[in-house]
């Protein structure tokens, strides 16, 4: 049986948990148990029951709220002992990074972290050796196929994005949900966390945007920002800008992309009238697809763009909006 440990906070599921379920289904779809720890696990459990899994187990205990590595380790140690899985799968979140190595060490079991893929070789009949977990090494320059050794369960944490949420197979009916009681000695919890620190967050988090329409000096005047806004709306994209636009106050500072603004990595980055100074490029070079529109064929942005349109953005953008509307 594969045990997936989902992550939730205040009844809100961390979406990476779905990715981990997708990973579990790749490994062995026949017997998957999803465990949701923490207060208000029940509402999250109902959501997770939609997946094609055997059952969803909730674990609520005073020691799990607020989160502490000691509380989680102790509660999950007991839960694992009760459930007896072959694999324990977790999303490679910050919280997982905090407690999972401790949990694996407590149980003296192997852990493979930051896994990006599962490699199943044809069964050699020798049991577990037929599954390898792929993880990056040396800052991603190499990948390693890791085969965990020793008695089960083996712990595996999946890199965010290793599997897609839409890969999760849904069940024909809701999976059963049950509560599991764990024994935790509250005196084992040595941490006494304060209220979580909330960094003054930029109102716009461009780093999470899937599509970005970004404007540069080629937009010429503030009134013209509107056509970029229209394009962004048509594309379902966030609006961003290069430094001079934000310096001029045409768009707020929090929409600035570049080395003195935000670093973004959307699937689509549409650069309108951005020449592509290196200080801007380093803020968006991680974008999947870069489309640049610029009058100047020598603009450095074309060095990095996947698609380049040399021309007047005031002709091209309205045509694009028109095309998108159809």
């Amino acid at each position: 049986m594969i045990l997936v440990i989902a992550e939730q906070k205040d009844g809100r599921l961390n979406r990476a948990s779905w990715e981990t379920i997708a990973g579990a289904q790749q490994l062995d779809p026949s017997a998957i148990t999803v465990l949701v720890p923490g207060a208000s696990a029940a509402s999250v459990a109902a959501e997770l029951a939609a997946a094609n899994v055997s059952e969803v187990v909730t674990v609520e205990h005073a020691a799990l709220n607020p989160y502490t590595p000691d509380g989680y380790t102790a509660a999950l140690q007991d839960a694992i002992a009760q459930l007896g899985p072959t694999h324990v799968l977790l999303p490679h979140t910050y919280q997982t990074r905090d407690f999972a190595p401790k949990l694996a060490a407590r149980l003296d079991r192997a852990i493979v972290t930051d896994v990006t893929a599962i490699k199943k070789s044809p069964s050699t009949g020798s049991g577990q050796a037929d599954v390898a977990f792929v993880r990056p090494m040396f800052q991603g320059k190499l990948t390693a196929d890791v085969v965990p050794q020793g008695p089960p369960p083996h712990f595996v944490t999946f890199q965010i994005g290793a599997y897609r949420v839409d890969q999760v197979a849904k069940g024909s009916s809701s999976a059963p949900v049950r509560a599991l009681t764990v024994n935790v000695d509250a005196s084992q919890v040595r941490q006494n966390p304060e209220a979580p620190f909330q960094q003054a967050k930029a109102a716009v988090d461009l780093s999470q945007a899937e599509r970005i329409v970004s404007v540069g000096r080629g937009i010429k005047e503030q009134a013209n920002i509107k056509i970029a806004e229209d394009l962004a709306r048509a594309l379902g994209a966030e609006l961003a800008a290069s430094r001079p636009i934000c310096d001029s106050g045409w768009l707020p500072m929090e929409r600035q992309v570049g080395s003195s603004g935000q670093t973004v990595a959307p699937k689509l980055y549409l650069a309108l009238g951005i020449s592509g100074a290196i200080q801007h490029l380093v803020g968006m070079k991680g974008s999947n697809t870069i489309v640049a529109i610029n009058k100047d064929p020598d603009a450095p942005i074309f060095e990095i763009a996947d698609y380049g349109i040399v021309g007047d953005l005031f002709e091209i953008v309205p045509a694009m909006i028109e095309a998108l509307k159809q």
Partner: protein, 613 residues
């Protein structure tokens, strides 16, 4: 009786002087020794120029500097007079009646007049004109000292008015001598201690601007953490400061309204030393934020007339902070880029390869090539700067220079070194030295002034020496004898440009004539901006600040201040010779919404050469 009283006064004032000096000497002796003595010839010449001829004092502030020089030269010629009068007062030997002394007295009269004029000018300037560099409040002690000096000259001149050995003469003599003694006792605890120590400090100042010896990790050196780590030269500097504020008014950070004031740094060191705070963290003495505002442009150190070195304390403190993990976040990101990709932007190595291929560059081979072109981070990855390099290649090819590039380059390490990440710097430097040595490189040409300084001067501290010149210097020599084309423009002012000296080229390397020679050779008419040649105003990129967020700091952007200075020349074309100046100033221009044109020097020259051909 009078002699006995004079002896008692003499001993007590000289004793007070000696005791205060001893405190300072002990503090210098207790500090780890960082005195250097290399290039004695240069040091002697510099002492003559800066101490005897008051070069640095006069050049930047001609009137006040000359007034100061009058006072200084007066002090020198008065040394003999004062000695004779003391020998007389102490009853040791009376030379006052000798004929040579009478002659000497006459000779120094014009000097006394010059001192009087000089000190009264300086007094008025300090008390009433109050230039910003002298600080916000008028120092009472400086006024007292100025009045003392004036009194000395007046009482000296009065000796010609009084009959010798009369009561009036005697009163005048006693006033003169007592003022000297009081002056002596006031010196060590005041900025006037520079009278005693500045010649020594100027002599001990490193011949290299921004001299930062490598840290020895084997000896567990981690940079300056607390006051007791501060070296002897820095301690001497702290007691030498004359508080003239040249470092302050030339500091680009201070000029842009930031908190950093190099003079304050020196005085804070002095205060903490005298207060015995040897275990106090430097980040607390100076404030960490202030330490990260320095662009390492070197203006403070270069303009100081008394031999103070500011960069070793600023960068030394940064080293201490970095060793404790206390670097600002933006540097953490840059260090990651250097560590993972060996370049400041963290871009993929394929981009350099792409450029090398498209520019048809050959891998350096000493048998085939005369020089190595060092691309640098900007040359490898900044598409904008690569245009300038293509111009350089075109010039070199036209002049049949055979050149190649290394198959692989790391960042030279300048951003790591100047921000205090010595470990990373040494890793990068050692890797590059190994590659350069293995490739058999003898001469390097680069368009990046930071690479010139680091590879040329800093790598020498590993025992690696190579000739490295900036492209402006190389191309200037290469194109000598070429005639300037007739101005192509039909209307006047078309050839007008302004040239921004990069700090690491103009100030550090002293190369100010070559870029100008190139510009004028090819028809440009240069409008000099405020702050030029060996004392330019920084673009704001140095010392890792290329990566800093403006929002985190007070004041305006240094690049915006500099761009306004360049704009004020009225020239619509700014010529730059450093990729980082170009990035900063173009950013400022874009934000200002100005239509100023930027041209890299090599692109300018290449364009003109094409019109000749």
């Amino acid at each position: 009786m009078a002699t006995l009283i004079f002896w008692l006064l003499f001993l007590s004032f000289v004793g007070a002087f000696a005791a205060q000096v001893a405190t300072r000497v002990r503090l210098i002796a207790a500090a780890p020794s960082t005195f250097t003595f290399d290039d004695i010839g240069f040091r002697v010449r510099r002492c003559l120029a800066d101490v005897l001829f008051q070069r640095k004092t006069i050049v930047e502030r001609p009137v006040a500097g000359l007034a100061h020089a009058f006072v200084f030269w007066g002090f020198l010629v008065f040394a003999g007079y004062t000695s004779v009068e003391f020998l007389y007062g102490l009853g040791l030997v009376d030379l006052t009646e000798t004929t040579w002394f009478h002659a000497y007295r006459m000779v120094i009269v014009p000097f006394a007049t010059a001192v009087l004029v000089g000190i009264l000018y300086l007094l008025v300037r300090r008390a009433f004109v109050r230039p910003v560099g002298l600080g916000t409040h008028v120092s009472a002690e400086s006024i007292v000292i100025a009045l003392f000096i004036a009194t000395l000259m007046v009482t000296y001149l009065l000796t010609f008015r009084f009959e010798e050995r009369t009561l009036a003469w005697a009163v005048n003599w006693w006033v003169h001598m007592l003022v000297i003694l009081a002056f002596l006792a006031l010196i060590p605890a005041s900025k006037h201690f520079h009278l005693v120590v500045s010649p020594i400090t100027v002599f001990l100042k490193s011949p290299e601007l921004g001299n930062l010896p490598n840290l020895d990790f084997e000896k567990e050196q981690v940079g300056l953490e607390t006051l007791k780590d501060v070296g002897s030269k820095i301690v001497l500097d702290a007691f030498t400061c004359v508080e003239c504020g040249r470092c302050q008014v030339n500091c680009p950070a201070w000029g842009a309204g930031k908190e950093l004031n190099p003079k304050t740094i020196v005085l804070q060191t002095q205060g903490a030393l005298l207060a015995g705070q040897k275990d106090k963290k430097l980040g607390e003495i100076y404030s960490e934020q202030v330490l990260w505002q320095c662009t390492t442009c070197g203006a403070c150190e270069n303009q100081c007339p008394v031999g103070i070195e500011h960069l070793p304390i600023l960068i030394g403190s940064r080293r201490g902070l970095v060793s404790n993990g206390d670097a600002p976040d933006y540097l953490g990101a840059m260090y990651n880029n250097l560590e993972r990709r060996s370049n400041i932007w963290g871009l993929g190595y394929d981009q350099r390869t792409k450029f090398v291929q498209s520019a048809e560059l050959e891998t350096f081979d000493p048998a085939k090539h005369d020089v190595l072109i060092w691309l640098g981070c900007a040359g490898s990855f900044d598409a904008d700067f690569q245009k300038s390099l293509r111009s350089l290649f075109s010039i070199l090819r036209a002049k049949q220079v055979r050149f190649g590039v290394l198959a692989k380059e790391r960042c030279n390490g300048d951003p790591a070194k100047r921000t205090g990440n010595e470990y990373m710097y040494q890793e990068l430097a050692n890797g590059n030295i190994e590659d350069l040595t293995r490739a058999g490189v003898k001469k390097i040409v680069t368009s990046c002034p930071h690479c010139v300084k680091t590879i040329g001067a800093d790598y020498a501290k590993f025992g690696y020496t190579v000739e490295i010149v900036h492209s402006s210097v190389f191309v200037e020599e290469l194109t000598r004898g070429l005639a300037a084309p007739a101005p192509a423009g039909t209307h006047a002012g078309e050839g007008r440009v302004t040239y921004h000296d990069p700090c690491y080229l103009g100030r550090y390397a002293g190369k100010t004539d070559e870029p100008r020679a190139l510009l004028t050779r090819f028809g440009a008419e240069i409008s000099e901006p405020e702050r030029n040649r060996e004392n330019p105003y920084c673009c704001g990129a140095g010392g890792g600040l290329l990566f800093a967020d403006k929002e985190e700091e007070p004041g305006s952007r240094i690049s915006d201040v500099r761009f306004k200075q360049l704009q004020a020349t009225g020239a619509n074309t700014v010529v730059t010779a450093c990729p980082f100046c170009s990035i900063m100033l173009k950013g400022a221009q874009a934000s200002a919404g100005a239509d100023t044109q930027f041209v890299d020097l090599m692109t300018y020259v290449d364009g003109k050469l094409r019109t000749i051909a």
